[in-house]
């Protein structure tokens, strides 16, 4: 087990820092259903952490606990070294946790640019009157943030669609716009819920490249859920494996691949 303050070096030579977020004995119940059963793991600064497991294992629930959408029935969440009190999702977002969704959750009535700009709103503080007059602080803020947003738009190569309403875009591009919106927030922790679901091989390759680039260029810590094993094993530094709400494996992709419980969960095991 790793010490919480020390980092480690990955196989490809990247230096990973201390613990950014730690989940301690998280249990989540919906009535009698136990979605998450006593799970602990940590996410370290600068790493790409994957959460995998068969359908219904509780991965999305775990992500929802991290982003504050669900409050765990038991257990504690530590963020940047201190215990996180019970919070509303928007407060968690303001602490620097951004996410994308399994089913795309973009604002369909707005243009790509406006959608990505919404990612900046945790950084915008001008008052109603200043905004109504479009003068002084509100205007400066708008322009500064536009510049930051344009950088993200350049980075994800969606310049040509920036003024297109999101409703008109194809699926793959919507996924990318959603990533752009999350990135625009300059999060310290980026949560990706199945970023490659429903994509063809080429789109998956593009998206993988973007995820690696984000991690590499901005040093963003990423936690992702994904079903494509090839992608997970290639991208992630460490993997948590869940099954029926329990943690059955945790470690580097190679360790997890060799874990008998994990193999059983994925391939099934005979009970005779």
């Amino acid at each position: 087990m790793l010490d919480s303050s020390e980092g480690y070096t990955t196989a490809d030579g990247r230096q990973i820092g201390g613990v950014l977020m730690e989940m301690k004995n998280i249990t989540l119940r919906f009535g009698g259903v136990v979605a998450i059963n006593d799970i602990s793991f940590d996410i370290r600064e600068g790493e790409i952490r994957a959460i995998i497991g068969p359908n219904g294992a509780g991965k999305s629930s775990m992500l929802n606990v991290i982003s504050g959408f669900y409050t765990p029935s038991e257990g504690e969440v530590f963020y940047k070294g201190s215990k996180r009190p019970q919070m509303k999702p928007f407060e968690v977002a303001r602490m620097g946790v951004a996410r994308t969704f399994q089913n795309i959750a973009l604002f369909e009535g707005m243009t790509v640019l406006d959608n990505v700009m919404t990612g900046r709103l945790t950084h915008m503080h001008s008052g109603v009157f200043s905004q109504a007059l479009w003068f002084g602080r509100a205007r400066d803020e708008e322009m500064d943030n536009r510049e930051k947003v344009e950088r993200v738009i350049d980075f994800l190569e969606i310049q040509n669609i920036r003024k297109t309403p999101v409703g008109r875009l194809p699926y793959g591009l919507k996924k990318r716009v959603e990533l752009a919106r999350a990135l625009a927030a300059e999060p310290s922790l980026l949560l990706l819920d199945e970023p490659m679901a429903g994509m063809n091989v080429e789109e998956k390759e593009d998206m993988s490249r973007f995820i690696l680039d984000v991690n590499d260029e901005f040093g963003t810590t990423i936690a992702l859920i994904e079903h494509d094993m090839g992608v997970v094993m290639d991208l992630s530094d460490r993997v948590v494996v869940m099954d029926y709400g329990k943690k059955i494996g945790d470690g580097t992709p190679d360790e997890v691949r060799g874990n008998q419980d994990v193999i059983d969960a994925y391939l099934g095991v005979s009970h005779d």
């Binding site: 928007f90 604002f107 919404t118 322009m143 919106r181």
Partner: protein, 358 residues
């Protein structure tokens, strides 16, 4: 051809986010403003002021207020009429209690009261959405109109139960009451509406506008990217009710001259809602187009038979009028469900690339 945008390059984000990135739009608006500020007031008759110009502006303003709430923030409201009433009664009480107060200040202040009432009746929106919220605002509608009738203090205990606008002047120039000239009232209304439009355009294109649209389009995602939904909705209720309240004060003080409680009953709410829907939800321009269609068209249609010399009785004209306007509303909604503003947007897009199809 007239709308060609080629050659208009933007070299800064300020230029790209300017109010009129396309030069032709600015010219078009300039022409409209010249008409509104110079040509109409110089040429319009008393009849045109009272039945077309002033009411269209006031209804457009009320619809703009509703549009902030329903079109931008996505909270359906059926209480617009009552919130207009709050504005009107607040203005009436302000003028009674502080007779020295400048009428313009009174009108702008009266919106503050409707904003407060709007926020109170907006609190259910934190829990309920869509049609259920509409029902909750309907409760506001009935309750407030009942209050206007029963609370005699609001109409200064006069026997008729109606509010009567006194003669008010600004530096000796009468702006309301029987002695006010229509052209003065028109300019005052136009000034307020222009100001409100500018503020609304700025709000809706800025950060607050994006917050509202995010709340409207997908509230869960909005919350998870850091929007405080409660704040976003209540601010929308406050600003929307403020504008609606100012429209209500203008409605009584600059146009009707007197009002009974039932003026603010649900037909008014529906009329404003229809203007917003037909004009286009989520658009500022649409409110004007909708008001022209719903308020202006019946007046013009009324004049047609006599102008053509057709021997039709005035009652018949009324009936025909209702049918034609109703038909047109359905026609426009079928042609473009997103309202007249969207229709204009599409026409504009076509004009830019004309004569090529795409």
């Amino acid at each position: 051809m007239l709308y060609r945008t080629a050659g208009q390059f933007k070299t800064s984000y300020t230029a790209d986010q300017a109010l009129f990135p396309v030069r032709q739009d600015a010219i078009l608006l300039g022409v409209i403003l010249v008409f509104a500020y110079l040509i109409f007031p110089l040429t319009a008759s008393e009849f045109a002021f009272q039945t077309l110009l002033i009411p269209i502006l006031i209804y457009a303003l009320a619809a703009m207020g509703l549009n902030i709430l329903t079109g931008y923030a996505g909270q359906l409201s059926l209480g617009t009429g009552a919130f207009m009433g709050v504005g009107a009664y607040a203005c009436y009480k302000l003028i009674t209690i502080f007779p020295w107060m400048n009428p313009i200040v009174a009108i702008l202040l009266s919106g503050v009261f409707s904003a407060g009432v709007g926020v109170v009746f907006g609190i259910p929106s934190l829990r309920i959405k869509g049609f259920y919220l509409a029902i909750a605002t309907l409760a506001a509608q009935f309750f407030l109109v009942w209050l206007f009738e029963k609370w005699a203090w609001l109409y200064n205990y006069n026997a008729s139960g109606a509010i009567q606008v006194p003669n008010l002047d600004i530096f000796g120039l009468y702006v309301s009451g029987p002695q006010a000239a229509s052209v003065t009232q028109y300019y005052l209304v136009l000034g307020v509406v222009t100001l409100m439009s500018i503020l609304c355009i700025n709000l809706t294109r800025g950060n607050l506008g994006r917050t509202w649209k995010a709340t409207r389009d997908m509230d869960i995602a909005a919350e998870l990217i850091g929007i405080n939904l409660m704040r976003s909705k209540l601010v929308a209720f406050a600003i929307s009710s403020y504008i609606v309240g100012v429209a209500g004060a203008l409605y009584v003080f600059m146009w009707k001259g007197a009002a009974e409680p039932n003026v603010f009953d649900i037909p008014l709410s529906f009329q404003v809602l229809f203007i917003a829907i037909i004009g286009g939800l989520g658009s500022i321009l649409g409110n004007y187009l909708g008001a022209i269609l719903i308020v202006g068209l019946p007046v013009v249609l009324n004049l047609v038979p006599s102008a053509l010399g057709l021997p039709i009785s005035s009652a018949m004209v009324e009936h025909l009028n209702v049918m034609i306007v109703g038909g047109l509303i359905i026609f426009f909604l079928i042609v473009e469900p997103h309202g007249l503003a969207q229709l204009w947007r599409l026409i504009r897009e076509k004009l830019i690339i004309w004569p090529f199809p795409h």
